[in-house]
Subunit: 460 residues, 2 copies
């Protein structure tokens, strides 16, 4: 953990080129107002949709980002900045993010090309915050989108996020827990995330508890003593059948048992029968250990007797798709010469100009039937606009300032409700034969073509 | 970014079950001294060796981990702890990590089964810190090991880590930069990592700088004005050839040009010839954009004219192997009854008992020929022991307390020197037909078998 105290809001948490560009804008007195849009270029092969997450941390960062005098001195000492005038360092000393931000709320389902976040700010400010915005939204969206699949596979059974130890560092473990909750998990093993975000926490004992006792029965009895009986006991340290028999022999009904290795399918069925035979119908069976959405779906399809799943590495690293093609592109710029639309037209990396809104259409039963990406001021009939204002002049708006525990719970509810409205082949674990329909409005296509023509004239 | 100030050293940064087990040990007065060893179970298919990293942050955490009264109150309020007595909460209030730690230094090459870190501490302490230890060592080791491959592919050319925006959050971006430097990168785009760890920083401008100007030539000229000529200019926003011609027409020799998309192979060869034709032999050519070790190797094999590479997502997420099977296992326990050896014997998950040391043998030319994992007190002739003491009674030893910038630079030097001694087929990018030889000592095999027999007697 390297960032403590003020470090967590450091303006240096950015790629150097954002700072060199900012220096260029300041020194050249380019005080244009820029609009950047953050979106995902395309879906990984194993995803049919994405779940927005990370907005709360993004807005916290934007409100608090500063440069300390020590950090400014560091930049001044870099060879890169040796010819840059005092004006830029004064700019950094006074630096505040003063822009407006629109975003789609956390827990919203979205698709490639749709702006998740739109920043309108003086261009230097909009550039300096780019890197942190991208990494924060990218990571939580990645994990929430994976959690969505895992919880879909679990078909109503509890899923707890257990992946802290394999997440990409300590902060990632906390934010993975938060994002997994948004994606439908019931809770997490990460205790810090439990405290910080009010997420339910799960966990009882590891193999080391059993191994720390010379006798497995004593290990079970001791645990039940301390936690007054309602605990889950880990039964696969030596031999699952023997362990379950020892618990029954103790005559003290636990809250549950956990299988962490071996043939979970057959062990769960055997254990359910044995526990029921002892009259212990309420003892729940939990499974963990190298689980993901496919393994969970297969277990349930084959009749595993499992009441809840702990999912670790596959979830906290989004192991089958550990990154998304998330980008932050200049869409429009306003300076003394007026408004200018901007876009990229290279083949694989085309972007669209202008400030955009995403509108979602539903059929009469509420099912989503398709989205339209249009210019902000276009009127799309009978559709729900997804982007809402979340920050004005650098301050969070009331709707995005609720306590963290309320925020994350609402985001989860938003996702769970939205999933019900997605077409079934998009919710499915298998790659969708037909993607969810997303189109650009006619006006946006026209503007894109006009901008391209203007650009060809200027640059050739 | 959720962890600020004291949060970064919170004892809650752990899986809940570590805390329930600790409560169990406290309430049951089990004050055993435990030894846990942290190691990787097996290599991902795409790795032939690993590079240790993350020790500095691990030791910082161990020195500083605490429970605040607010955090203790949170735990007290959880249903799980409602029957747990005051003794445990008093224990948390006074909690300090007081253990001894041995570790292999950062930048050391290691292999599956070899302990990277060994903790000997009162068992509750050793458990509570498990999750943060694992996530910190796991993540940086993952990235350093990927960087080792990328820098091997670059064959002496500069590699800068450019992946902050796709790393798993803001902290991960900083630590990825640190770990990538250990794995041989020349530097990073992450400015915070540059400041915090004294790592060289790289970066000049993005497409947005070019797009913020109506005229590309003006964008180049403005940048050269501000940074006095020695900058790298991004030439692929619209058309690479046209952009290079514009720079030559300006008559101002830049430090370099950067290609971020398109046919980098052919563009780099064309650009080298054109720049040389203009007499600009010193202008360097940098490439970036979806690079990894395989793409770099292919570019160089095909004769690309590239002086340095910026590598992003593939490096900062270790995209082809985004996690390692890193574990932390109880190896030995000492209590009132004496020392007891512990291990797991399930088929896929066997571990070895006892406190271990790893010894590395070299041939007469210094090439590594094989490692032996043995008990700590065994004497392995003509071999270099890898584990060294790094913390005693919760305090870092002098050798691991040097400034962060010195520490990371030494780690990089250690890795770069060690790579020279690895067999060529292990350094290679292709999966090794024969793994690097690692064996367990005869005494360790005997102890393992004796421990297994004792366990069978106890547990059956």
């Amino acid at each position: 953990m390297v960032m403590r105290g003020e470090g967590a809001t450091s303006g240096l948490l950015t790629d150097l080129y954002e700072l060199t560009m900012a220096a260029g804008y300041v020194q050249k007195h380019m005080d244009a107002l820029a609009t950047f849009e953050l979106f995902v270029r395309q879906l990984p092969a194993q995803r049919n949709y994405l779940v927005a997450a990370g907005l709360e941390q993004t807005l916290e960062f934007l409100e608090r980002v500063r440069f300390s005098s020590d950090e400014i001195a560091y930049l001044r000492g870099l060879p890169t900045f040796q010819h840059v005038g005092k004006e830029f360092f004064d700019y950094l000393a006074d630096f505040r993010f003063s822009g407006d931000v629109w975003a789609i709320p956390e827990g919203t389902i979205f698709f490639p090309g749709e702006p998740v976040l739109r920043v309108t700010a003086p261009i230097g400010e909009a550039q300096i915050v780019e890197t942190s915005l991208l990494s924060t939204i990218h990571f939580q969206t990645l994990i929430a989108s994976k959690a969505a699949r895992v919880t879909t596979a679990a078909a109503g059974r509890i899923v707890a996020e257990f992946g802290s130890r394999r997440a990409h560092g300590v902060e990632a473990s906390v934010l993975a827990a938060r994002a997994a909750f948004i994606g439908g998990c019931a809770g997490t093993s990460n205790t810090y995330a439990g405290h910080r975000f009010g997420i339910p926490v799960y966990g009882t004992q590891a193999h080391s508890w059993i191994m720390a006792h010379e006798d497995e029965s004593e290990a079970f009895a001791n645990f039940l003593d301390v936690f007054s009986g309602k605990s889950t006991l880990l039964v696969d340290t030596y031999d699952v059948h023997a362990a379950v028999e020892k618990i029954i022999a103790l005559g003290r009904e636990p809250g549950g048992i956990r299988l962490d290795s071996g043939d979970v399918l057959s062990d769960s069925r055997w254990a359910r029968a044995r526990l029921d035979g002892a009259g212990w119908h309420d003892v729940q069976i939990f499974a963990s250990g190298d689980l993901d959405e496919h393994r969970i779906a297969a277990l349930l399809r084959d009749g595993a007797q499992i009441d809840g799943f702990g999912v670790g590495t596959a979830l906290s690293t989004s192991a089958d798709a550990p990154h998304l093609g998330v980008i932050y592109k200049l869409a429009e710029i306003t300076d003394a010469n007026g408004i200018r639309m901007t876009a990229k037209y290279s083949e694989a990396k085309k972007t669209f100009p202008g400030r955009k809104q995403v509108s979602r259409r539903s059929d009469s039963r509420g099912s989503y039937v398709g989205d339209v990406i249009a210019l902000e001021d276009e009127r799309i009939d009978a559709a729900q606009p997804l982007l809402v204002p979340v920050m004005q002049e650098g301050k969070r708006l009331a709707a995005t300032s609720q306590p963290s525990n309320v925020h994350v719970r609402e985001a989860q509810q938003r996702f769970v409700a939205a999933r019900e409205h997605l077409p079934q082949h998009i919710v499915a674990l298998e790659p969708a034969a037909e993607p969810y329909p997303v189109k650009y409005s006619a006006r946006l296509e026209e503007l894109s073509e006009a901008t391209r023509r203007a650009l060809v004239q200027t640059t050739s």
